[in-house]
């Protein structure tokens, strides 16, 4: 299984602040990958590096095996829908399709026309007068009709209302099923990703906290509740991701590949949201601890 995006010690600095630092990850092909993390985790920076809009300050990044934006062929392989789905407000929908056809040798005009017709968009309408949802759909159409191997979307639904959000994600999933394209989708809302992703990367403070197939992640994580006990008394194979204790009770979220045999625990499955939140809060606890050590 090859990687569509592979980074090594990747970093990007704006003047003095690091937007992304020491980021190493490999995103497998043929998946719908959810890139999730809190605001400011470096998701947008990472995706902009991946499409070649930014140059890395340090480290390396390869997309489809090449340096991003290194040539027309590499660019043709990657479709990009940027945050807030920018389009030329004074150009009509038809003009945008023309732009796509002019700038992309792999352009699939039939696909673009079909999608616009399905969405019920008036091709003569100016893009500036489209609703947020329609604009996002237009941007997605442009990216899809390029027939890319990899589709990268940066928070495409963040500014959409729930209905438009559902429509957008449904359109995306239909296209993925039809054209076998790898997708990397970033969001800070787990609920959006839960519906569409089969692979998850949690990025907090530019570090990958956990990455893997969603079903495997959900199987290997458990929520345990039972009488109070210390984490050090757990079996070696169980990694505590999150813990909370009252005087008498302990509530743990653990990761393990082995079955939980201790009858003292009540074992419950975890949701994707639980899992993401647990890793995010663990990252912030780690950071606080590190700061304490430094102090």
């Amino acid at each position: 299984m090859g990687a569509v995006i592979e980074t090594s010690a990747l970093g990007k600095r704006y003047r003095r602040t690091w937007a992304l630092r020491d980021c190493t990850l490999a995103i497998p092909e043929g998946r719908v990958v959810g890139l999730v993390g809190p605001n400011g985790a470096g998701k947008t920076t990472l995706l902009r590096l991946a499409v070649g809009l930014l140059a890395p300050t340090c480290g390396t990044i390869g997309v489809l095996g090449k340096e991003p934006a290194s040539g027309p062929a590499q660019l043709a392989g990657v479709g990009f829908v940027a945050q807030d789905t920018p389009v030329y407000s004074r150009m009509s929908v038809a003009d945008h399709l023309r732009l796509g056809a002019w700038l992309n040798p792999t352009w699939d005009g039939g696909l673009a026309a079909r999608r616009i017709a399905q969405l019920g968009l008036d091709t003569r309408q100016r893009a500036g007068s489209l609703s947020g949802g329609e604009r996002a759909q237009l941007a997605l159409t442009l990216a899809l009709a390029k027939r890319p191997e990899l589709l990268i979307l940066d928070e495409p639904v963040a500014s959409l209302d729930p209905l438009a959000r559902r429509e957008f994600l449904r359109g995306l999933m239909e296209a993925v099923a039809e054209h076998e394209v790898s997708v990397v989708l970033s969001s800070h809302l787990v609920a959006d990703l839960e519906r569409v992703c089969d692979y998850l990367v949690v990025l907090v403070a530019s570090r990958v906290r956990v990455a893997g197939e969603v079903s495997a992640l959900l199987e290997s994580h458990h929520r345990l509740s039972g009488p109070r006990r210390d984490r050090s008394t757990l079996p070696a194979g169980q990694e505590v991701i999150e813990e909370s204790h009252t005087d008498r009770q302990s509530l743990l979220l653990v990761r393990t590949d082995e079955p939980i045999c201790d009858p003292a625990w009540t074992v419950k499955p975890v949701s994707m949201e639980d899992l993401v939140l647990a890793y995010m809060s663990r990252a912030s606890v780690d950071r606080t601890r590190r700061l304490e050590v430094v102090a």
Binding site: L53, P72, L75, G79, A82, L99, W102, N104
Partner: protein, 345 residues
């Protein structure tokens, strides 16, 4: 990518075409009458046998209100065209994409940023050249009778010579060089400032400064001047000035030989070839102009004049246009380097 550049440029092209059309209609409507007055004035044939001064003087003074006013409007317009092209075509070229976020759309199609900029810059620069070229061609044609007559007319020589500050940058081919340079300057300002309105303001400011500084500090050194030594007589004596600190001069005489030439510097020498100081002539301190003039003429003074003869016009035009085009190319190279090294997003 060229098709897209042309497509996205069409609004600007329509504006330019509309402005040019209005300009052309006004010139075409009034030009024939102006040429008619010129031909009936007899200036065209006087240069062979002399006696041009009264003919030219009466032609220039008889120009009706519209022609005189539009002559100056034409000069102002041609000075403005490159600045407007720089501010309204050049500056927003990249900043508009950055401000609207559309660079993320434009630079992630199957076209590299370098080719994107090359097409944008090529189409824009070509349009700037054509626009400025047509403006200057139209105006040069229309103004030609006045440009020919003015230097010959009495008391009218300095302002209206073709090598002077007003006509040189608004005639011939220099506007093409300026417009291309201003366009590249606008893009560069956009690359450096990244916001449309400040980049436009910076473009206008920089270009205005260059327009003022260039003829004062650079143009006089482009071509080595011709020299003429002219004896001062009561016929050609034009005046003198006695400045503070003994810096004094006798004004260059009006000489038909210099007609249309651009005087760059002059000094007055006495019979022995020494630099003459007008303060040494007692009559000239506190006496009447005529008494001083008579005293000076008796001293057999000569003015040594360094000037660009009228025949240098086209050589200077080509030099200056070439320099501005080369400067535009340098600015463009900087923009390519900036966009290539991804300093923009």
């Amino acid at each position: 990518m060229i098709r897209l550049s042309v497509f996205q440029f069409r609004a600007q092209a329509v504006t330019a075409a509309a402005a040019l059309t209005v300009f052309a209609v006004i010139l075409a409507a009034s030009g024939p009458h102006l040429y008619g007055m010129y031909h009936s004035s007899g200036i065209a044939s006087c240069q062979a046998h002399g006696g041009c001064v009264p003919l030219a003087t009466s032609f220039v003074h008889n120009l009706a209100g519209f022609y005189a006013v539009f002559y100056f409007i034409g000069i102002g317009l041609l000075l403005l065209v490159p600045a407007v092209i720089g501010a309204f075509w050049g500056a927003p070229l990249i900043t508009r994409e950055l401000e609207a976020g559309t660079f993320q759309l434009a630079w992630t199609q199957s076209v590299t940023r370098i080719r994107w900029l090359a097409a944008k810059l090529g189409v824009g620069a070509l349009a700037a050249m054509i626009t400025a070229g047509l403006f200057t061609l139209l105006l040069s044609w229309w103004s030609s009778p006045v440009d020919t007559a003015s230097p010959l007319a009495e008391n009218n020589g300095v302002m209206f010579i073709r090598l002077g500050y007003a006509l040189f940058p608004t005639r011939g081919i220099t506007p093409i060089g300026y417009a291309t340079f201003a366009f590249a300057l606008g893009i560069t300002a956009g690359v450096l400032i990244r916001r449309t309105v400040p980049a436009m303001a910076a473009t206008l400011g920089c270009f205005a400064f260059i327009q003022i500084a260039w003829p004062v500090w650079v143009r006089p050194h482009l071509l080595s001047p011709a020299h003429a030594t002219v004896a001062l007589t009561s016929a050609n004596f034009a005046g003198f000035a006695a400045g503070p600190g003994g810096m004094t001069f006798v004004a260059p005489p009006v000489v038909p030989k210099l007609s249309g030439g651009w005087v760059q510097s002059f000094r007055t020498i006495d019979r022995a070839g020494r630099l003459f100081n007008v303060n040494l002539v007692k009559v000239c301190r506190g006496s009447t102009f005529h008494a001083c003039q008579n005293a000076l003429v008796r001293l057999h003074l000569r003015d040594v004049i360094a000037y660009q003869p009228a025949s240098h016009f086209w050589t200077l035009q080509w030099y200056e246009t070439g320099i501005f085009l080369a400067a535009a190319a340098l600015l463009a190279a900087f923009c390519f380097w900036s966009i290539r090294s991804r300093r923009l997003s």
